[in-house]
C-alpha cells in the first residue's frame, strides 16, 4: 500500500468502447514517480481516449484507476490536466490571465470572487511560461503556441504532482516546443510527474524518459532505453511502413553522427 501511494498513476485492466467499438483494450500500465512519460501510437490508437478515460471524461467499460493509491475523486487536487487546444472556443471574451486563474477556481471555492492574490499567482504562472507580457491580451489575439502556453500555465497554477497533457506540442512553432520541453523538464526536476500524449517519434527519446506504446492494447511500457526499439515500434505501427522507415532513417543518421563524433 505504501508503495502504491508513491505511484502517481496506476491503470489496471482499462477497457473503453464507443458504442460497440472498443478503442482501448485491457490496458494495464504504471507511470513511476518523477518520470517524464510519453504515450505514443498511430492515429486512432486510442491515446487521447486513454487519457480521457483515466480522467473520468469518457465512461469506462471496465478498469481501475489509482492516483497515488487513491481514487481520482480523492486525489483530484494533485492532478492537473492540459486538454487539446482545439477543444475550446478561443473567441471567448476573456484575457490570458483570467484563463490561467481558472486553474485556481477549486481553491477559491464557490460563490467567491477572484482576489488580488489569486491574480498575482496567475501572473506568476504566466511568467513561468514566458507569457507575462500577454497577461491582459484577449485570447483570440494569441498565436497557437501562445494559447498552448496559456493552457500550460493554467495547469502550473494548480501546483499539482501529476500533469496529464493531451498533445501539448500539436501545432506549435519550434520556439514554443523548446520552451514547453524546458518547462516539462523543470517540473520533473522539482519532483513532479508528467504524462504527455505525443505523436512525433523523432523527438520522443530526446524529450522523454518513460514510454507507453499504445495501439488499442498496450504494446510496451517502461523506461525509454528499454522500450524504444525498432521491434516494439514495428508492432505498434504495424503496416504503416512509411512512418517507420522515416524513423529508422533518423535512427541511422543519429548512429552515424554518434559514430562520427
Amino acid at each position: 500500500m505504501s508503495e502504491d501511494s508513491n505511484l502517481p498513476l496506476k491503470v489496471s485492466d482499462l477497457t473503453v468502447a464507443y458504442g460497440r467499438k472498443p478503442v482501448v483494450w485491457e490496458a494495464s500500465v504504471e507511470f513511476p514517480s518523477k518520470s517524464l512519460a510519453a504515450i505514443v501510437g498511430p492515429n486512432g490508437a486510442g491515446k487521447s481516449t486513454f487519457l480521457k478515460a483515466v480522467l473520468d471524461l469518457v465512461p469506462r467499460t471496465s478498469g481501475r484507476i489509482e492516483y497515488f493509491g487513491k481514487s481520482y475523486a480523492t486525489a483530484r487536487s494533485r492532478v492537473a490536466y492540459v486538454p487539446q487546444r482545439e477543444t475550446v472556443d478561443w473567441d471567448y471574451p476573456i484575457n490570458a490571465r483570467d484563463v490561467v486563474a481558472m486553474g485556481l477556481y477549486r481553491k477559491i471555492g464557490w460563490c467567491r470572487w477572484i482576489s488580488r492574490a489569486h491574480k498575482q499567482k496567475s501572473l506568476d504562472a504566466l511568467t513561468r511560461v514566458g507569457m507575462e507580457e500577454f497577461a491582459e491580451r484577449q485570447i483570440s489575439e494569441l498565436s497557437g503556441g501562445q494559447q498552448q502556453r496559456v493552457f500550460l500555465a493554467r495547469a502550473l497554477v494548480q501546483d499539482a504532482d501529476l500533469y496529464l497533457m493531451d498533445e501539448p506540442f500539436a501545432g506549435v512553432d519550434a520556439t514554443t516546443e523548446k520552451a514547453i520541453v524546458e518547462i516539462l523538464q523543470a517540473l520533473k526536476r522539482s519532483g513532479k510527474t508528467v504524462v504527455c500524449v505525443h505523436h512525433d517519434l523523432l523527438t520522443v527519446s530526446d524529450y522523454f524518459d518513460h514510454l507507453l506504446l499504445l495501439n488499442m492494447r498496450v504494446v510496451a511500457s517502461g523506461p525509454i532505453a528499454e522500450v524504444f526499439n525498432v521491434e516494439n515500434l514495428k508492432s505498434t505501427y504495424g503496416g504503416r511502413l512509411s512512418l517507420l522507415s522515416k524513423f529508422t532513417d533518423a535512427l541511422a543518421n543519429k548512429d552515424e553522427i554518434e559514430a562520427g563524433g
Binding site: 490536466y81 471567448y92 481558472m102 477556481y105 477549486r106 464557490w110 467567491r112 477572484i114
Partner: protein, 455 residues
C-alpha cells in the same frame, strides 16, 4: 401633427400612475435579466434552445388554463399559468438534453423535434380552449405576441422578483458559469458538477422565457435573450463587462418598446421591444468597438494610406539615390546633404503602377504631415523629417529583402514582390529585430544597397 405626436410620448412618460411605473420597471428588469441569461446561453452554444423552450410554454399554459377552468376559476390568473408554462418549458429542455445524450440525433434536429412536438400539442389544446364558453375571452393571445397593456401590478412584482433571483444566481456562480462556458471538460476534471451547472444555466433561460411571455410573447422572447448578448459582444472583450452591457441593452430596448406600445396601442409590445433591440444590434454591427464593420473598414483604409505613404517615400528615396550613384560611382554612401533636391512626380509614378490621383493623394497627405513640400506642379522636395522617414522606410525594406534572401531562400527576382506583400505587417518591433540581426551590414552601410536588380 408633430406636437400632438410628441405630446402623446410625453404623456406616456410623465403622467404615469404608480402602477404603470411598477409595470415599466418590471419590463425593464425583465430585459436586463434576459440579457444576463442570454449571454451564458450564447456561450454554451445554445441560442436556439431559447426558441424551443419559449414555444414549449404553450401546452403548459393551455393545460393550466384547462385545469383552472375545470376547478371553476374562470378569471385569468397569472401565477398558475406561469407555473404551467415553466413546467412544460423545463420538460422540453430536459427532452433536448435526453435526446442529445441517449441518441445519435444531432443538436439542431433534437431542438426542431422538441419544438414542434410541444408547440403542436399547444396548438391542439388551444383549439380545445377556444371551444369552451369562456375560451374566446381567455386572453391567451397576449401570450403569443406580448401585451404590456394587459399587465397588472401583481404581474410586475412576480417579474421583478424572479429577475432578481436570476441576477443573484448569476452573480454568485459567475466564475463557475464562465468556466463551464469556456471549457466544460476542464471544469469536469476540476470536480465541478457540470451537468448541474448546465441545467442551472438553462433553467435560468427557461425562467426568463416564461416571465417574458406577458410582455414580449412566446414567439419573440428568443430575440430578447439572444440579441442583447450578441450586441454586447461588439463592445467588449471581457465577460463581466459583456454581461453588464447585455443587461443594459436588454433593459433599454424593453423600455423603448413598452413606451412605443403604450403610445400606439395596436403595436404589440413584443414587436416593438425586439425592433428597438434590433436597431441597437444593427448600430453595433456597423460601429461596434471590437469588430464593427465601420471600424474594420476604417482600419483598412488607414493601413492602406500608411502603406501608400511608405511606398511613395521609398520611390522618392530610390530616385534620389540613383541621382547620387550616377554622380559618384565608387565608394558610394548616401549623402543627406545632397538629398534635398526636387524630385519630379513623374519619376515616382514611373516606379509604381499608380494613377495620377493616387499619387496626388499620397503626396497631399505627406505634405500635410510636413514630410515634403510641393516645389511646383510637377515636382516635390523632402523636408528634413521627410528625408529621415524615407531613409527609414528604405532601410527597413532592404533589410527585409536581405532577410528573405539569406534566411528564407527566396529567389532574388521574387524578393521585392514578397517584401511588398509583408510590408503592411512590418511592425516597429520587427524592424528593430531586423536591425539587430543585420548589425554588421548596417555598420558598413547606414542604408544597405538594394540587394537585388532594380527593374
Amino acid at each position: 401633427m408633430d406636437t400632438e405626436f410628441l405630446q402623446r410620448f410625453a404623456d406616456a412618460l410623465l403622467n404615469m400612475s404608480y402602477n404603470q411605473k411598477v409595470i415599466y420597471l418590471g419590463v425593464v428588469v425583465l430585459g436586463a435579466a434576459s440579457g444576463l441569461a442570454g449571454t451564458f446561453l450564447l456561450f454554451r452554444k445554445r441560442s436556439l434552445l431559447s426558441d424551443t423552450v419559449s414555444h414549449a410554454t404553450l401546452p403548459g399554459i393551455a393545460i393550466a388554463f384547462l385545469l383552472l377552468h375545470a376547478a371553476g376559476r374562470y378569471e385569468k390568473q397569472m401565477v398558475p399559468l406561469m407555473i404551467g408554462a415553466f413546467v412544460s418549458a423545463w420538460l422540453s429542455m430536459q427532452m433536448v438534453r435526453w435526446i442529445r445524450k441517449y441518441s445519435r440525433i444531432k443538436d439542431d434536429a433534437a431542438l426542431a423535434v422538441t419544438l414542434t412536438a410541444f408547440y403542436g400539442l399547444g396548438v391542439v389544446l388551444r383549439s380545445v380552449i377556444q371551444q369552451t364558453p369562456s375560451g374566446n375571452s381567455s386572453g391567451l393571445e397576449s401570450y403569443l405576441f406580448g401585451m404590456v397593456a394587459s399587465m397588472v401590478i401583481a404581474d410586475a412584482y412576480v417579474i421583478i422578483g424572479l429577475a432578481l433571483v436570476c441576477g443573484v444566481l448569476c452573480l454568485l456562480c459567475f466564475k463557475e458559469f464562465s468556466l463551464l462556458c469556456f471549457d466544460a471538460r476542464f471544469a469536469q476534471t476540476q470536480g465541478y458538477p457540470t451537468a448541474g451547472l448546465d441545467v442551472a444555466i438553462m433553467t435560468l433561460a427557461v425562467s426568463v422565457a416564461v416571465v417574458g411571455l406577458q410582455s414580449v410573447g412566446l414567439l419573440l422572447i428568443m430575440a430578447l435573450l439572444i440579441i442583447p448578448a450578441v450586441t454586447a459582444r461588439f463592445w467588449t472583450n471581457h465577460l463581466g463587462r459583456m454581461v453588464l452591457i447585455a443587461s443594459g441593452i436588454g433593459g433599454v430596448s424593453s423600455f423603448i418598446g413598452a413606451v412605443i406600445s403604450s403610445v400606439f396601442p395596436r403595436v404589440p409590445a413584443g414587436g416593438a421591444v425586439i425592433l428597438s433591440a434590433g436597431c441597437l444590434f444593427l448600430f453595433s454591427l456597423m460601429f461596434g468597438r471590437t469588430c464593427g464593420w465601420a471600424i474594420v473598414v476604417l482600419r483598412r483604409i488607414r493601413l492602406q494610406q500608411r502603406l501608400r505613404e511608405v511606398q511613395f517615400l521609398r520611390a522618392v528615396f530610390d530616385t534620389l539615390e540613383k541621382q547620387q550613384q550616377i554622380r559618384l560611382l565608387v565608394g558610394y554612401e548616401f549623402d543627406r546633404s545632397l538629398a534635398r533636391t526636387p524630385v519630379s512626380i513623374s519619376a515616382v509614378v514611373a516606379k509604381r503602377d499608380w494613377t495620377d490621383k493616387t499619387v496626388a493623394q499620397a503626396a497631399g497627405r505627406l505634405a500635410n504631415k510636413q514630410h515634403l513640400v510641393h516645389v511646383d506642379a510637377s515636382s516635390i522636395q523632402l523636408t528634413k523629417a521627410g528625408l529621415e522617414r524615407a531613409i527609414d522606410c528604405a532601410r527597413n525594406h532592404r533589410l527585409a529583402e536581405l532577410y528573405l534572401l539569406n534566411y528564407a531562400d527566396v529567389a532574388p527576382q521574387n524578393v521585392h514582390q514578397y517584401v511588398e506583400e509583408i510590408e503592411e505587417v512590418t511592425t516597429p518591433e520587427i524592424a528593430a529585430d531586423l536591425r539587430s540581426l543585420f548589425h554588421d551590414e548596417l555598420a558598413a552601410h547606414e542604408i544597405p544597397l538594394e540587394p537585388h536588380e532594380v527593374r
